[in-house]
């Protein structure tokens, strides 16, 4: 199976889960910006969580399926047009060879994740017009008898709303939280942070009233992570995202909790949010809760897919 990019989007790439283990040599873990959407997309087509998916920004690519398959999309859009039919996100969809998929313009996020059964064969970098994306063959479901039925959905939708929040992003305090003045700490929870145009997969620049800091320490470079909130000398924050450098020298005033990284990754440029500080125990509790919910969704998808295909 393969798909082809008929028209490239603004930034389309193949992504897996973050790859750890070489950060001590300066290699960023990278991977999907929204790991929850990545996982949901794979679950909906019966893939393992780590399978490679297509990550698209808005406007997204127009693609054609070269062979019949099972696919799904999730993330920033709720619907798309498959040939002449409207198809919805978060549903497994059986598609015929030659079908063309176009994403509609109305969005409620920043990134779309498309998965096909088997997962894609990974290639690095930004996808271009006419690129052909091959898939790994690992799927046992039968598509015989699909005939000319385009856009056959299996009739159920995964609920993903619970994974996303839009107004408040929760953070733990960082090692250099103490560079902030007392007054600033008091005011910080009332500030709004807008995602600046100069934001990308490496990091989001956040626009706000300048953050007052009493000290600007000369810090030695040390490790940073996805979610680290760096304070620039101009009093603005940068939050590090998937392709972040492994080390940095700006003061680290905090870190977005793991459970809220998917929500942050789906915030479009120009949207804004507030920060709420929580402690590490609460962050761990929320991470566990998110992982439990995700595993339940994965199990439900597996069950539904088996049920659907055993009836065929």
């Amino acid at each position: 199976m393969s798909i082809q990019i008929l028209k490239a989007g603004i930034l389309d790439s193949l992504q897996g889960l973050p790859v750890t283990g070489k950060q001590h040599q300066g290699f960023s873990p990278g991977g999907s910006m929204d790991v929850v959407a990545h996982s949901v997309a794979n679950a909906l087509v019966g893939n393992k969580r780590e399978a490679i998916v297509l990550e698209m920004h808005i406007p997204a690519a127009v693609i054609v399926f070269n062979k019949e398959t099972l696919f799904t999309f999730t993330g920033a859009v709720t619907s798309a047009t498959l040939d002449n039919e409207t198809v919805n996100s978060n549903q497994p969809i059986i598609v015929n060879a030659g079908s063309k998929l176009t994403f509609n313009t109305g969005t409620n996020g920043a990134r779309i994740y498309l998965a096909v059964q088997g997962g894609f064969v990974f290639t690095k970098g930004r996808l271009q017009k006419n690129d052909v994306l091959l898939t790994v063959q690992s799927f046992n479901y039968h598509f015989e008898g699909v005939g000319q039925l385009h856009a056959l959905t299996t009739g159920w939708t995964a609920q993903t709303v619970e994974f996303y929040r839009c107004n408040i992003i929760r953070c733990i305090q960082g090692p250099n939280f103490n560079v902030l003045s007392k007054k600033e700490i008091e005011q910080l929870e009332n500030k709004r942070f807008e995602i600046d145009l100069q934001s990308n997969r490496m990091g989001f620049r956040l626009k706000s009233d300048p953050i007052c800091h009493t000290i600007t320490p000369e810090l030695l470079s040390t490790a940073v992570t996805r979610g680290t909130l760096q304070l620039t000398p101009a009093g603005q924050l940068i939050v590090l995202m998937a392709d972040h450098q492994t080390t940095g020298g700006y003061p680290r005033i905090g870190t977005v909790i793991g459970a809220d990284m998917a929500s942050l990754a789906q915030m479009p440029i120009g949207s804004s949010f507030g920060i709420k500080w929580i402690d590490i125990q609460e962050a761990e509790r929320l991470l566990l809760q998110q992982e439990t919910n995700l595993q339940q969704l994965e199990n439900a998808c597996k069950f539904r897919l088996q049920e659907y295909f055993s009836e065929k």
């Binding site: 070489k22 950060q23 001590h24 040599q25 300066g26 040390t222 590490i280 991470l287």
Partner: protein, 240 residues
């Protein structure tokens, strides 16, 4: 090495903990970093995905769910963060004499010709010495790779002779070429690929710092010596 040396330990995310020895760039502190890293690798823990050394700190990145499940299995109720923190602290203050720091030197050929070293003359001027003296002082020392970071395979090395220490440019260059050798204060380093950068470029190596399989030449903790070569040798080696 005193067993009571102080440090701070804190979470930098809900899946990463840093142990920070504090203080300025020094070989002694960096020894402690690699002692700790060595001990952590020896006493490996399931769920730990990265151990990232820096000048004066070690960061452990872990998978929360793996650690949580292990805790569950062992009927241990302490939070994952505390568990990782304890594990790191149990490995600190190991005996420095147990670590072998006498690794082989990596020799890096560097051409200091001004055609590939745009800042060598201004560095020499700032320190009121000849470019030849800059080259002598830069090639005289064996440097420690304190850490990698910034770019894959970028090595932060030191300590540069005080006589040629030069602060980085106020405005970074939009493009520094792969192989460029720079100075920034007490640090020296080599750009592994084309990149924007603010370091004072005093030379260029024809060697590849990273290969097509993403193997890097200068790994954390290794030792490096620079060997001055002519522009002709540089071009010959560069073509290979």
């Amino acid at each position: 090495m005193s067993a009571t040396s102080s440090y701070q330990i804190y979470p930098i995310s809900d899946q990463a903990v840093t142990l920070d020895f504090g203080g300025p760039i020094s070989l002694e502190t960096n020894d402690r970093v690699y002692m700790l890293m060595d001990a952590l690798i020896k006493n490996k823990l399931e769920g730990v995905t990265d151990i990232i050394p820096a000048y004066n700190s070690v960061t452990v990145v872990y998978n929360y769910m793996t650690v949580y499940q292990r805790q569950l299995k062992n009927e241990n109720t302490i939070p994952a963060y505390s568990f990782i923190k304890n594990w790191i602290e149990n490995n600190v203050n190991q005996d420095v004499s147990a670590i072998d720091f006498s690794k082989n030197e990596i020799i890096i050929p560097v051409c200091y010709d001004k055609s590939v070293a745009p800042d060598i003359e201004s560095v020499a001027d700032q320190h009121q010495m000849s470019t030849q003296k800059v080259i002598e002082l830069h090639t005289a020392k064996t440097y420690r790779v304190f850490m990698n970071g910034f770019l894959p395979g970028f090595a932060y090395m030191g300590i540069v002779d005080p006589a040629i220490q030069t602060p980085r440019h106020k405005n970074p260059r939009p493009l520094v070429q792969a192989g460029s050798v720079g100075i920034a204060g007490v640090q020296t380093g080599i750009y592994p690929c084309n990149s924007p950068g603010g370091w004072q470029i005093i030379g260029k190596t024809p060697l590849a710092l990273i290969d097509e399989n993403e193997n890097i030449l200068l790994t954390p903790g290794s030792f490096v010596k620079f060997n001055a070569i002519s522009i002709l040798e540089f071009e010959k080696l560069h073509k290979q």
